[in-house]
Amino acid sequence: MAVENYAFLIPLLPALAFVLTFFLGKKLPKGGAIIPIVAITISFVISLLITLNLLANPEEVINQSYSWFAILNIGILVDPLAAVMLTMVSLVSLLIHIYSVGYMSHDKSPSRYFAETALFTASMLGLVLSDNILQLFVCWELVGVCSYLLIGFWYEKPSAATAAKKAFLTTRVGDVMFLAGIIILFSDLFKIFNGTIPDGIYILRFDEIFAHIPDIAAMNANIFGMEVSHITLITLLFFGGAIGKSGQFPLHVWLPDAMEGPTTVSALIHAATMVTAGVYLVARTFPMFIAAPDSLMVVAYVGAFTAIFAATMGIVMNDLKRVLAYSTISQLGYMMLGLGVGAAIGAEAVGISLFHLINHAFFKALLFLCAGSVIHAVGTHDMRQLGGVAKVMPITAATMVAASLALAGIGIPGTSIGTSGFFSKDAIIENAYLFGDTTGAWIPYALSIVAALLTSLYIFRLLFMTFYGKPRTDYGGHESPGSMTVPLSILALFALFFGGLTSKTFNTFVSETFVNNFVNLNIHELASIGGYHLASHGGHHEPMLILWMPLIVALVGFLIAFLIYGLKIVNMDSLVSRNNPIYKLLYNRYYQNAIFTDFFSVKVIYEGFAFAGRAIERGFDWIVNWLSNLTLEAGESLRQFQTGVVQNYATVVITGVSLLVILIKVVMEVI
């Protein structure tokens, strides 16, 4: 099958669409939306064909490399991991594009919007396709800048412009760590090759990197007195990048603000693409993480903590989109946790995490698009002003319920009945249990369970406040047009059934990536480099309670939400008050804005360092000016020497003669 010869078209077509839309879009109806839609459709078809082909023939991994510059290359790598990502990204992006045709129809410059989203899609697809870490970084950054452009799409709104900047800068902090990781990796490989790299070998290619994991692991760096293996260092730095991109604590602060962009952008960024890039990065370089158990531990803890941390804030937000934003952060935490447990279960972790990633992409895109649909219709995203929207927008409400069920992870353990989120999230939580069982680190599991409860609580709170009951204000509104509801419905189907249908095959398919193909060391050897052994998965069975636990807490969460927001048996005003310190803390988002933005960036960097810098700069200027003034003043005072009286001149001459005699004597003595 020749479809692999067209794999390079997957990112290229949207990129081309970007150029065409950018220059021609204004002249076409609806901002030239048709161009990216067609391009992405083709990308999706190719991706799907490749995925199907890989499913049938797992060994037919596509890997093509071309020299780029110096000893670096560009190339494409489509293995199962990449293939599923490609398919998901192109599909979700396609649906969002179609949805946007309606959503953006009233905007001033839809062509710019479609151009930017096309570029965004292209970058994301390019990221997934990369066969080397540098190209991945390139696309990673492009994704970042596209998100900057899209979040700041309504740039005349100061808040949008600020949010865009914040998003870019915060992720940039992670990017720098990522880049540092790449640089250290490069230099290690460079040294391993002794500085002479044979032609045709591209040292930053993943297969090349993985082949040298033992060598890299053998290198140690001394950081503040601690001996750290380079492999741990590099993977931690990579994870630093992932923290930024995937909104993990503490670099998640940009994500809620990113809601300033059009809702479709939020869907694109928070559901399918940008935020998953971090997870993908860790998954992509998972063999390295396997060899660095300390890093995996960090991944697990950060993931679990982020999951609960974000969820707590999700329950107090009143802004529809913000709740979803925190939900995204929280779910990304789950994905990270899923990867982190790899220290216990090996390559399967990639499968589990990716599965949740894909499912989350569908239901989160759906949630955002539903929210967008509501906002589009009623013109506000403050939930306190909504209520009873279900009556006005039945389709939107129905799809929203489907998405919420998926997010909450409702399903019956042990069967194939359940929403997508059920299968993937449960798997993660169960594996977290296993992780605790194997390594003795129970905290991630505990956090993930509580987070599951909170997840259910905030999403049903959202449902009740928005769709249930009576309108709190007179907002009018109507059901959205077909171009919007059709994608919603398709996504709803995915959100409900994708997990159930694929849960058996998906995991093996994706995990295959690192089990047999592609990496010349098998996963157990890698683990032994890291100094530990993977648990044998086969004979292990979790207690029944553990299997049911996620569902139970989800239902508890629903119940609480129903009691408070559905039946209103608890007076909200007593809880939601300025006097409640917990509420205050949560509502103010743990004061992180104050801490990060105001204190850290503004006060410390801007005022502190910049002030110091200016002072030093003035110092330099002062030195230069002082020298020049000194010279000028010396000139001025030496001039006085020339009195104009001729007798003085004679005196000077005569004194000069005498002094010269003495000076010569002295100098000659000295020498």
Partner: protein
């Protein structure tokens, strides 16, 4: 073979003289455009006949000049010089177009100075004799000095004199180094010569270690002031800021400091008495420049001044990469020169346009310009992204090569430089956000978007930035050839 190098050096100078004789703006700019386009055509011809697989000097011309002092008229280009000549040849015609419709006093002098600078700068890149090299080196000062003094901003006198004297001191110190080298070689071989390749190859035979170090440091000082590197950069913000837009662009074209670093310093480096100390000096200066320039840029209120400091920061990569002593880092540093030239010219053009349109460059006084100047906004976003090192644009290639390459030998310094990346992003975005986005500041009055000429010249450069970001090979290959050559020399010495 036609003396093509003499032609590309002399044609701008001759056209400069012609431009000086013109009376009107129309004549002057036509002459300037003709001259620069001829140079561009010749350079392109030369580029396509250039063998990028060898590190040797090509298109050499050699004529005796002052034999009793060993002075020759010796020109030639190698892979270090070729891209920089190309940079000048490309940007200068566009600069002329950019200023096409400007109204200013004495346009004849203005265009004459632009042409003279081009000739002098290309002269530095082609000279293979230190005497000639120094002549062109100093010759670059004069037109720029006039440029700032005549058409500069309110503080032009201070800025021009400061720039003139400051860099002149540096040149003189460099001259001392040249003298040392010249006579050391003369003593050893018995024949005077100022031929650059010969002198460089003689450097290793100098017996006195102190003499070698002093010569090296003197030359290094001359070059890094021109780059400029922390802490010798203080002429730059004033000069760049006070210069008219064209002057700032010409300053940016002045890549002679970095050129000297690669052409003269690196081949000599392994033979100094204490190469490790020299490497450390360069590495410290480079990495501190990157960080320091970024912080200073962050604290600026004036857009152009911010860009000027960002230039200090970016040029730090050149020094750092040169000190990295890995072919990737060295070629990356060379590429940084090339890329920085392209990016900064558009940055300064943008500053100029904003200043002309609104009458202010204070970032906080601007706002929402993107609504009134959409074309400018697109170009500016692209070029700001390039400047902050966005992949896919030329700045990234350079920076990542420098950082990755240098890390092999200089991990700590690279880590310092990495700290600057976020700050770099911060000030770029801050400026973009405050100046271009947000609510339009009505006090700025009515502004119109950039003219066709301006769009063309900025657009072409922006496209080149993109092109070289995606496909750096056309210039990077020859840089790599040369840097590999340099590194192989060092490897042979066991450094």
């Amino acid at each position: 073979m036609a003396p093509i190098l003499s032609m590309i050096v002399l044609i701008p100078l001759i056209f400069a003289a012609l431009a000086l004789l013109t009376k009107t703006k129309e004549q002057a700019r036509a002459i300037a455009l003709t001259g620069t386009v001829i140079v561009l055509l010749l350079t392109v011809y030369m580029y396509f006949n250039f063998d990028s697989t060898i590190a040797a000097n090509q298109f050499e011309e050699l004529v005796e000049w002052v034999p009793s002092l060993g002075i020759t008229y010796h020109l030639g280009v190698d892979g270090i010089a070729m891209p920089l000549i190309l940079l000048n040849a490309i940007v200068l015609p566009l600069l002329v177009l950019f200023t096409w419709n400007d109204d200013r006093k004495s346009p004849n002098k203005f265009y004459a100075l632009i042409l003279a600078t081009e000739g002098a700068v290309i002269g530095v890149f082609t000279a293979l004799d230190f005497f000639l090299f120094y002549i062109f080196w100093e010759l670059t000062l004069i037109p720029l000095f006039f440029m700032v003094s005549i058409w500069g901003g309110p503080n032009k006198h201070h800025a021009s004199i400061k720039f003139f004297i400051y860099t002149h001191v540096a040149s003189l110190v460099m001259l001392l180094g040249i003298f040392g080298l010249y006579f050391a070689a003369w003593d050893m071989t018995g024949t005077p010569t100022l031929d650059i390749p010969t002198l460089i190859s003689q450097f290793q035979f100098i017996e006195s270690g102190i003499a070698k170090d002093l010569i090296f440091l003197a030359l290094l000082f001359g070059f890094i002031v021109k780059i400029p590197s922390f802490p010798f950069h203080s002429w730059l913000p004033d000069a760049y800021t006070e210069a008219p837009t064209a002057g700032s662009v010409l300053f940016v074209m002045l890549k002679i400091g970095g050129y000297g670093l690669f052409k003269v310093m690196l081949p000599m480096l392994p033979f100094t008495a204490s190469p490790n100390m020299m490497i450390s000096i360069m590495a410290v200066l480079g990495s501190v420049s990157i960080l320091y320039g970024a912080f200073l840029a962050l604290s600026q209120k004036d857009l152009k001044r911010m860009v000027a400091y960002s230039s200090v920061s970016h040029m730090g990569y050149v020094t750092l990469g040169a000190a990295g002593l890995v072919s990737l880092s060295v070629s990356g540093a060379m590429f940084q020169q090339f890329s920085h030239g392209l990016i900064m010219s558009v940055m300064f053009m943008s500053c100029g346009i904003i200043n002309n349109a609104t009458g202010t460059r204070i970032i906080n006084d601007l706002g929402g310009l993107a609504q009134k100047m959409p074309k400018l906004a697109v170009i500016m976003v692209l070029i700001f992204m390039a400047s902050l090192g966005l992949p896919g644009l030329s700045g990234f290639i350079a920076e990542v090569s420098v950082l990755a390459g240098s890390f092999v030998n200089l991990p700590v310094y690279v880590m310092i430089a990495l700290l600057a990346i976020v700050i770099t992003a911060a000030y770029h975005l801050w400026a973009l956000q405050r100046a271009m986005f947000g609510v339009y500041n009505e006090r700025l009055g009515t502004v119109t978007d950039i003219s066709t000429y301006q769009t063309f010249s900025m657009g072409v450069i922006a496209i080149l930035v993109l092109y070289f970001g995606l496909n750096p090979s056309p210039v990077l290959d020859m840089m790599l050839t040369n840097s590999e050559h340099i590194i192989s020399l060092m490897a042979a010495m066991g450094v």
